[in-house]
């Protein structure tokens, strides 16, 4: 591995001076062509061998190196007549206006110049002062230095200058620029050492190395040149024609035309998107991608190649869940493990082990051996023995990935830092990456075809850093809101309920089976005769010194809390590591219990709890059995009738309202029109109806109904989902209103014009179990479509907002003195967050934990999210 010995301290910007252009040039290019008939680069052409080699087998005439190792060298074109550089048009325009046409001085009276010069010697001009100088100089009608009257300078966009009526040719402009003294330039914000203004008028044009514009050979054997080469050919051709015409003594008019043409080609060579200039096109009609286009935008050099770089030692495949591995682990399929390598430096202590890797012909093998001189040798059947022989201290062996290796795991879009975490490798059979289900949340992953990336760390520093800072168990608390983000959810929550509710007891055999999953070999004493209660089994997962009391999600918010005697068993009490009371649900697994474990016992203990709880709770679910079927959404005839009655009632009330409205008897809400008032009232009635219908249906289900269990414990779904499945889907909305688009005065053809009754405006009275009638189905689809469109727009908008936020804030760092500063060392905050507290260590928003555990999470998403999740990844 190479050691970096030098560091880039700074990057300087300036305009290339024609002298330097000629000096750095290896050869002057004159021939507007690339290869001859034999496919050999033409000497003096654009692919001259002095510019670097891009063909295998040839040697560079400048450095003697072969294809890949030659970096390429510049050449140059001598322009017959000077030509303006598009990028500096603005500077030239401003200079022409602010300096004298005959003596080149800045058009300010000497005393003023003096005062500004003084400022410059002492420091810098402020932006306002700079603007002021330019504004004042532009106004001068006469040069204060040589009394010459100043003509008005006009810029006819994009690139022609006029002085009064007379055209200023680039050669005139160049002469003027040369006149401006250095000391005056400084006042205009131009650094004369790095950017003399006449350098903005080109006399020599650098020709970039062949390596930056390689030509490609098509299957037909035809060569296809790069866009830049095409452009350079154009420039050379016109340059030659111009030269010929000048030496032939052609009339001025023709020369000027050719000159303008040369100007056009040079302009588009730099930037092919200048407004007012038709873009140069390829034969096919596609605009050429010239220098500016190479740098610009998302696919440009800066964002595509410089800010983001491609890496080796990475892998990508589909993910699937595995609750049996630890949250810290990632299951790596064997074929990938064989491909990815970890470098190990040979020492006297690991020599034998590394030799064994080389010797192995089966999985933990060595793939490469790198000698200290940097030569890399692939381990093959033939050289295996030889390599073992010559292995010495200092050699690097690249061995295949094995259990315990440290890797980074990532899922795009990487919206926050926990989209990339450090995992420990666990090599498994199969072809997918295996992921612990509780780590889905930070990655925002699911298993409907998601793919993820894995990066193998290659240096000891990187490994140490990743392990110390990025390991999954250290990311349990979200830095966004200071409460767990890696947490038990969905089936684990259901499992918690099934295990810890009252009256659940297991035989010794079953209990042992479950506890061994958590690696608990010493059985506690049975507490229900010879049986084990679920609470007892759960207690085995807790550290023995834990004491905790809180209310679980089942809490009904009774007026007076009976605490331990809670009739719903919603009061959780953990005493000396024993779950005495209460049911373990969402609040425990996602909030207070996990939070307390993490903060009081550390990440290691929290990790153990999550690992073990996952296994035990899933074992519970599997043992007891937990599934949902259509039957679970069934309601009795009576309930059905009750709901139907409610809907009929709503229909009637709506009709009454409509009648009232039509008769003009309705009292309108101040500031709203009658129609809006009516709509509001109808929406309110229908919303209320759905809620009541839902509650009726929910009341009907008993506590053992799996859907009810899930929604009540907070595993998945809400009362709204229950409503939609069993009672009524409810009002569909587009743009937050009842559906009223489609036809004139009606939503679908079968309704009468002007019908604003509930069915005609998108109320779905059927439930999902009963099935929707065609109109309802259509309305539902309309609502669903809006949600989908909305989601698309939202991701685009929020993506850009995040890019801007990141760019604006990324340089901010907390310094050793607690201040927050940017890269220019400006103080942004004197004390981070006014108290210097790490939001990740925060207890919710509070700097210190004053209560036991907080339970924070984003609000439950409404129906739209459920619809959105319906569309599959790829």
């Amino acid at each position: 591995m190479e050691t970096i010995t030098k560091k880039v301290a700074s990057v300087e910007f300036g305009i290339l001076n024609p002298e330097i252009i000629r000096k750095m040039s290896q050869i002057r290019i004159v021939i507007p062509d690339t290869y001859d008939e034999d496919g050999y680069p033409i000497e003096g052409g654009l692919m001259d061998l002095h510019l670097g080699v891009i063909d295998p087998g040839l040697r560079c005439k400048s450095c003697g190196a072969r294809m890949v190792s030659c970096p390429g060298h510049f050449g140059h074109i001598e322009l017959v007549r000077p030509v303006l550089h598009v990028g500096y048009i603005k500077m030239i325009y401003s200079l022409l206006k602010t300096t004298c046409s005959s003596c080149g001085r800045l058009l300010l009276p000497p005393n003023k110049l003096q005062t500004y010069k003084k400022i410059i010697t002492e420091g810098e001009l402020t932006d306002d002062q700079e603007i002021d100088i330019i504004a004042k100089a532009k106004k001068a009608g006469k040069c204060p230095h040589c009394d010459k009257k100043q003509e008005k300078i006009k810029l006819v966009k994009p690139i022609t200058f006029y002085e009064g009526e007379k055209r200023l040719l680039p050669s005139d402009i160049r002469r003027r620029m040369e006149l401006i003294p250095d000391k005056d330039l400084a006042l205009l914000g131009i650094d004369p050492k790095k950017a003399r203004p006449e350098w903005g008028v080109l006399t020599a044009l650098p020709v970039p190395p062949a390596t930056t514009r390689p030509s490609i050979t098509l299957e037909t054997g035809e060569r296809s040149e790069d866009d830049l080469t095409h452009k350079l050919v154009d420039i050379l051709r016109i340059n030659q024609r111009l030269r010929d015409n000048i030496s032939a003594g052609a009339p001025q008019l023709i020369i000027e035309d050719l000159w303008d043409l040369l100007q056009y080609h040079v302009t588009t060579y730099f930037n092919n998107e200048v407004s007012g200039i038709p873009p140069a096109r390829h034969r096919s009609g596609r605009p050429l991608k010239t220098l500016a286009q190479r740098l610009k935008g998302k696919e440009g050099r800066f964002r595509y190649n410089l800010s983001g770089k491609r890496v080796n030692f990475s892998a990508r495949t589909v993910i699937s869940p595995d609750p049996n591995i630890s949250i810290n682990e990632v299951g790596v399929p064997k074929p990938i493990a064989k491909e990815l390598t970890v470098p190990e430096k040979t020492t006297t202590w690991n020599m034998d082990r590394l030799k064994q890797y080389i010797r192995n012909t089966e999985y933990p093998m060595a793939n490469y051996v790198i000698r200290p001189d940097g030569r890399r040798k692939k381990v093959t059947e033939l050289n295996r023995e030889e390599l073992i022989e010559e292995l010495e201290v200092g050699f690097v062996v690249e061995r295949q990935l094995k259990n315990g290796d440290i890797v980074l795991f990532n899922r795009q879009p990487s919206l926050h830092r926990i989209s990339m975490m450090c995992h420990i490798v666990k090599v498994l059979p199969g072809k997918t990456f295996r992921l612990h289900p509780t780590v889905c949340k930070p990655y925002n992953a699911d298993f409907d075809g998601d793919e993820m990336n894995l990066h193998v760390l290659q240096t000891e520093e990187a490994k140490a850093e990743a392990l110390a800072l990025m390991l999954v168990q250290d990311q349990i608390i979200s830095p966004r809101f200071g409460s767990p983000i890696i947490k038990g959810d969905e089936d684990l929550v259901s499992g918690g309920f099934l295990l810890t509710r009252k009256g659940v007891a297991f035989s010794k055999q079953i209990a042992e089976k479950m506890l061994i999953k958590a690696d608990i070999k010493k059985m506690p004493k049975p507490d229900q005769g010879d049986k084990y209660s679920g609470k007892l089994l759960f207690s085995a997962l807790l550290p023995p010194s834990l004491n905790l009391e809180y209310k679980s999600k089942l809490c009904q918010n009774c007026k007076e809390c009976k605490k331990a005697k809670c009739p719903h068993d919603a009061y959780v009490k953990i005493k000396k590591g024993k779950l005495v009371n209460g049911i373990i649900d969402k609040v425990s697994l996602q909030g207070i219990l996990l939070d307390t474990l993490f903060r009081e016992y550390g990440p290691e203990e929290a990790r153990k709890f999550l690992d073990n709880a996952t296994r035990v709770l899933l074992a519970t679910t599997m043992h007891i059995g937990f599934s949902v079927s259509v039957e679970d959404t069934m309601i009795t005839k009576e309930t059905h009738a009750e709901i139907e009655y409610m809907i009929n009632d709503a229909r009637q009330r709506t009709n009454e309202l409509i009648k009232e409205y039509e008769e003009g008897k309705m009292k309108h809400i101040p500031g709203k029109t009658m129609k809006e008032t009516l709509e509001d009232k109808i929406m309110a009635i229908l919303g209320e109806t759905r809620m009541n219908a839902g509650n009726t249906a929910a009341e009907h289900f008993d506590i053992a109904n799996p859907i009810m269990i899930m929604s009540r414990v907070g595993a998945r779904g809400s009362i709204l989902n229950v409503t939609q499945m069993s009672a009524t889907v409810g009002q569909q909305a587009v743009r937050g209103r009842r559906i009223l688009r489609g036809y004139r005065h009606k939503s679908l053809p079968q309704f009468k014009e002007g019908n604003i009754g509930i069915e005609a405006r998108g109320f779905v009275s059927s439930s999902l179990r009963d099935g929707l009638i065609p109109t309802e189905y259509f309305f539902h689809a309309m609502g669903g479509r809006e949600a989908l469109v909305d989601k698309g727009i939202r991701t685009a908008k929020s993506g850009y907002m995040q890019r801007r936020l990141i760019n604006a804030l990324q340089d901010l760092v907390v310094q050793k003195d607690e201040t927050v500063r940017d890269s220019a060392n400006n103080i942004v905050q004197f004390k981070y967050g006014e108290d210097g507290i790490d939001p990740m260590k925060c207890h919710g928003d509070s700097a210190v934990r004053l209560q036991t555990g907080v339970y924070l999470e984003d609000k439950d998403r409404d129906e739209t999210t459920a619809d959105e999740e319906g569309d599959y990844d790829d």
Binding site: P479, V813, D822, G833, I837
Partner: protein
């Protein structure tokens, strides 16, 4: 009790909010126990300090950007307030970080002084006075091309309702069009401006319709609402004119706000904008049910305001005024930044993140901020 106060005062390092909470909850405890609690709190406080080198900017940006995908785009309709379709969620948040000069729906919340806030009638009267009501509501303006005159007929009771008088209205109208009416009889004014073309007469009529008789500019609608704590009434307006509202003596200037952040900057200055940004951003996140630590929001507000002027997040503001050429070029307007940098002869000292990524060096943040030296 005083002993306890003294004890609490000793823990200067702890924020007031925490001390207050401890004081509230330790009323029944003795000094010794309280001290024990305080010591523990202090220990945890020190333990929870942020580490030097932490990339707080990136964390803040991610913490706000990441839930952005979960925000809704829908506008929210205020119940009871006319057509107030207030942008919520993502569009509103973007409005805040962009510092749009006029929000889509400018709103003011005008709190009133003790003198009138409890009397609903007085508040309603006040609300009517500030409402900017167009001329058409007060008068029928009729142009008669045949006679080349414009007739303005005022509705007197409407005028009185909004706290103005007929005389006043007539005077104001004349002032606006800079002409005396030909005749003024009772509530009717007749203008004969002497224009002969229809177009010029129409223009004149429009001038009349522009006349402002009462209310404040841009306050399109004022609605009276009850204060949530039940101490009286306040006014919510559609449209914002902070400058004029704050001049009124009935207004409680310390509590009255607008959601137009730029306006707050123009009138109340930089510290006020900072607070306004924090308040507005938090409000959006809260109504969306997204939990974000206020420290992140504060950092965003500070970045936008630390220079003394407010700068939006983006190329026009914070990102565009960075010191590093490469960082600016890598964000947006690549070509422009490279050209100006070469004219001015800028030097990029590679002190930021992007610049160092570009040249392929470790970034000066986190573990890249410290270096280790070996003792010879």
């Amino acid at each position: 009790m005083t002993d306890k106060k003294q004890l609490l005062a000793k823990y200067k390092e702890l924020p007031k909010k925490i001390l207050n909470e401890i004081e509230k909850n330790t009323k029944e405890l003795g000094l010794r126990e309280t001290k024990k609690i305080l010591d523990n709190v202090l220990k945890e406080f020190k333990n929870n300090k942020i580490m030097p080198g932490e990339a707080v900017g990136t964390i803040a940006a991610q913490s706000i950007g990441e839930p952005g995908t979960q925000m809704t785009m829908r506008t929210f309709h205020y119940a009871g307030v006319a057509e107030l379709a207030v942008p919520q969620g993502l569009p509103r948040f973007i409005e805040i970080v962009d510092l749009r000069r006029k929000p889509k729906m400018p709103l003011m919340e005008i709190h009133l002084n003790q003198s009138i806030k409890e009397d609903k009638q007085k508040v309603v009267d006040f609300a009517e006075q500030i409402e900017d009501i167009p001329m058409v509501e007060f008068a029928d303006v009729e142009e008669d091309f045949h006679e080349k005159v414009v007739r303005v007929t005022f509705k007197e009771e409407t005028l009185v309702e909004h706290g103005t008088t007929l005389d006043n209205a007539i005077k104001k109208t004349e002032k606006e069009v800079r002409r005396k009416a030909k005749t003024t009889e009772g509530n009717q004014m007749i203008f004969k401006p002497g224009f002969t073309t229809l177009a010029s007469l129409r223009r004149f009529t429009e001038r009349i319709l522009m006349t402002k008789l009462c209310g404040l500019k841009d306050i399109n609608k004022a609605v009276v609402l009850e204060e949530p704590d039940g101490t009286g009434y306040y006014i919510k307006t559609d449209g914002s004119n902070l400058k004029e509202i704050l001049k009124l003596k009935e207004v409680d200037t310390s509590r009255t706000t607008t959601n137009d952040i730029r306006e707050i900057y123009d009138i109340l200055g930089i510290e006020a904008v900072r607070s306004a940004i924090i308040k507005e951003a938090k409000e959006v996140l809260d109504t969306q049910g997204l939990k974000v630590n206020p420290r992140h929001v504060m950092l965003v507000a500070d970045v936008m305001t630390y220079s003394g002027t407010v700068k939006p997040i983006g190329r026009q503001g914070v990102s565009g005024s960075k010191s590093s050429v490469l960082a600016r070029a890598a964000f947006e307007e690549t070509v422009k930044h490279l050209h100006t940098a070469s004219i001015k002869g800028h030097v990029d000292n590679l002190t930021g993140i992007t610049e160092n990524i570009i040249v392929g060096q470790p970034v000066p943040i986190g573990t890249g901020l410290i270096t280790l030296g070996m003792k010879e």
